[in-house]
């Protein structure tokens, strides 16, 4: 919990960073477990993106002939071209994760009948 009175009191940063914001969270799904699972899934989706970006950094540093040390990784800032390439890779990664939703959108735009419809139709034609 937050320290009272002492401006230099140590802060448990991991615990406090995850504090809940005041205000009731909307229920998005009928089963609360789905809400919790989606939050966990998206945190994981984010972390995989971070891992991939870190790996890209290591590759670029090695390619540039650097002797790898961790501060070089922490301090790495991509130039315009590298930033663009990495952004594009992240965009493609998100498109892979979100495929189901993007295709649901397409199906709403151009709906198909159940396959049985075609099973019966083609049996007649």
């Amino acid at each position: 919990m937050s320290a009272k009175g002492d401006p230099d009191a140590p802060v448990d940063w991991i615990a406090r960073a995850g504090a809940r914001a005041k205000g009731r969270r909307p229920d998005y799904f009928d089963d609360p477990a789905l809400d919790r699972l989606l939050s966990m899934l998206m945190a994981l989706v984010g972390e995989v993106s971070v891992l991939r970006e870190r790996f890209d950094t290591v590759e670029r540093l090695l390619e540039a002939g650097a002797v790898l040390d961790r501060s070089a990784i922490e301090d790495y800032a991509p130039d315009r071209a590298a930033g663009d390439e990495r952004g594009l890779a992240t965009k493609a990664y998100i498109a892979r994760i979100m495929r189901a939703l993007q295709q649901e959108l397409e199906a709403m735009e151009a709906p198909d009948p159940p396959v049985m419809h075609w099973v019966e139709e083609l049996a007649k034609r």
Binding site: P26, Y28, S49
Partner: protein
Amino acid sequence: MRSDVPPPYTALTLHGMMPRTSHDEAARFNFLANLNKYLAGTLGPGNKIAYDTRVLPAFRAEHGRDPRHRYDIREAMNRDPFHRMWSALKRNSMEMRQHNGRQIVLRQLDELDAQARQYNEGRASLELDRSIAIPPYQAAVDTHCMPGSYYGEERPGDVAAGANYDVGLFATTGGGLGGLSDGGGQALVEWARAERPNWSPRRILDIGCTVGHNAVPIAAGFPEAEVVAIDTAAPALRYGHARAQALGVRNINFVQMNGEDLSRFPDGHFDWVQTTMFLHELSAQAMPRLLAEAHRVLAPGGLILHLEQPQYSADMPLYEQFIRDWDAFNNNEPFWSSMHAVDLKDAMEEAGFSRADQFVIGVRAVVDEAIFPRSDAGEGEDHGRAAVWHAYGAWKKAA
């Protein structure tokens, strides 16, 4: 060809108060900036398709009529599986942005607080006032799902809330506010210079300044002016003042004060009174009090400007009102809904600005477009977050 992706977080200007990010912390914001862009641009239009193809037909079948209010649409859309999933993803993105920002800031809070003290202690340009109460509309919920909102402290005298606000603006706007997240303020300076080329305001008041990312560019743009930036939240002011000092902008004072009570200033004290994406964080009773005070302290011939997202007018389709209302219910902005239904021109008239003196203009963030994206309103707009605003303004009639 430039790809249509947000710039990396590391493109932001590393000013003297900016929290340092590790590689992975920056990468988390890169992911979120991309995710927000995808949710708004690629999946966002799916909400309208769901509405047109199944939600509206089902509503008509059930009620025998069309929706009459944006809340009718909200209730119906909240049962639609696509909209539910989209909203849940967007909510998670907001929460992840807060979590990442707070991890960055709190793990280095000792350094940030020490740095802020260096910039703040003994400076008359930061005035904190413990007697300023947290307004009830701020205390109701934590705005933007920011744990502790703008005013909460992890320990007395800290800058955590302000620092977290500063780092995370990038993720929510995908870099649309530029290197110092000040593209809104820069746009105001550019507009004012074009509108009144020889205008030289002496005193400028920014109400609800948070960390000063809108007020500081105005102070920098009008170096002869004395800028007063007020807010009720001490942690935001401590950080904002230190940040302005670090940026070398000195003609700005940060003062803890509630915009509903500007009694410290005489009538007609300021040549320019500004709010930026702030009025929607008030309440029905507070807003007219604040607008009236803003009118009172404005000098004859002076400029008032309120930047907001567009108000819900009668000619705005109900669906658009509904989708623009998302933040009210999903991002802890409870006054957003009723505020946008107010005709701000009427509210300003009640505050003392005649209709004839009022104007509405479109404002787009000014950013270095070689690095940062140009913000556009339209199909893929991230409603409530696009760096494109309506400015409701007036030049106060000269006495």
